[in-house]
């Protein structure tokens, strides 16, 4: 009887050790995914010449936007201002204080408008200006909504490389 209890105790200790190891692994995964890099599946028509319609897997890094090193021309992941549960991929066209010229309705006219991006905001636009819901609709967005910077494409393999 005594030995049986001893055995049970050792099994419990071992499983607790395994669980702790697993929890540590999950923590490491979380930290890597939020602070260093992670793969992301992006799809949709709004970035069309750069990213495919049917879906690309890209590696995005989460360091440079925390250091404020994101600039005009970078492709970034942004929490959509209209729906916080959605993450969208767009290109930064202007940082704070810069003036941006954009076509109001590119499919119909060449009428353009100039705006100055306010403090702490960025102007984002999709590469496919005909089918993109971006700053032209909802104006400049706060820098705090930027989640990460798209770094390179991983899949499909023939398009492998930095963006």
């Amino acid at each position: 009887m005594q030995s049986w209890f001893k055995k049970l105790g050792s099994i419990a200790r071992e499983s607790a050790g395994r669980a702790a190891l697993f929890a540590k692994f999950l923590c490491l995964l979380h930290v890597t995914n939020t602070y260093i890099f992670s793969p992301t599946l992006v799809y949709g028509p709004s970035m069309l010449p750069t990213l495919n319609l049917t879906g690309d897997v890209v590696l995005s890094e989460y360091i440079s936007h925390r250091l404020g090193k994101v600039g005009t021309g970078d492709v970034v992941l942004i929490q959509s201002p209209e729906n916080p549960r959605k993450v969208i991929t767009k290109r930064i066209m202007g940082m704070e204080g810069e003036s941006v010229v954009y076509l109001v309705d590119p499919s119909r006219s060449y009428r353009s408008r100039t705006v100055v991006v306010p403090k702490g905001h960025v102007w984002i636009q999709g590469d496919n200006i005909y089918a993109s819901n971006d700053s032209r609709n909802y104006g400049p967005i706060p820098y705090g909504l930027i989640q990460g910077k798209v770094w390179c494409r991983v899949w499909p393999l023939n398009g492998f490389g930095t963006l």
Binding site: A23, K24, L26, C27, L28, H30, V31, T34, Y35, Q79, S80, P81, E82, N83, P84, R85, P118, K119, G120, H121, Y138, I141, P142, Y143, G144, L145, I146
Partner: protein, 169 residues
């Protein structure tokens, strides 16, 4: 003389501790130091003229609500300021998307756009909030304040409440 094995163990355990702490503060809860008097009756009720006061309120911020971004009127939230992403502000949600609200110093009503909310401090005379920068996207919210944890005589729960005066329609 410290053995390299001991040093290695210290490094390893502090690294693990950091990982676990970071995960908990990102996913579950963290403690935030409240500065300033913009939420005055609720936090920091007594005005003290020292800069870095030890008796400032420290509050518990829970992060589980960030999984689905469901907030309600009267919640106190932490969000990063729309004009400077490094700055965190602490205000109360007054109106959610779809509500109509009076802009201050004018008589026109504003509809809060989809995915946005209107935040205000409890101290209307001394607060930088939606009255100056407009509605903010819900994506800027970094957590919901649930309890005061420091100083000890003020430990308690934060209630959901709306200011008197009927700003919300």
């Amino acid at each position: 003389m410290v053995s390299p094995r001991f040093l290695w163990n210290v490094c390893k355990s502090s690294f693990t501790f950091g990982l676990v702490g970071l995960t908990i503060s990102d996913r579950i809860a963290s403690v935030v130091h409240v500065r300033g008097f913009s939420m005055s009756p609720t936090f920091n009720p007594h005005i003290i003229n020292s800069m870095e006061s030890f008796s400032d309120d420290h509050v518990l911020v829970e992060k589980c609500c960030l999984a689905d971004y469901k907030f309600s009127h009267g919640d106190v939230v932490v969000f990063s300021s729309p004009s400077n992403y490094k700055e965190k502000n602490l205000k109360r949600i007054i109106a959610m998307s779809g509500d109509w609200i009076n802009r201050p110093h004018s008589y026109d009503m504003v509809k809060i756009p989809e995915g946005h909310c209107w935040v205000e401090g409890d101290n209307p005379t001394n607060s930088m909030d939606s009255r100056s920068f407009g509605p903010i996207p819900l994506g800027l919210i970094r957590g919901r304040v649930t309890h005061i944890v420091w100083p000890p005589q003020r430990i308690g729960k934060i209630d959901r409440k709306l200011p008197q005066g009927g700003l919300v329609f």
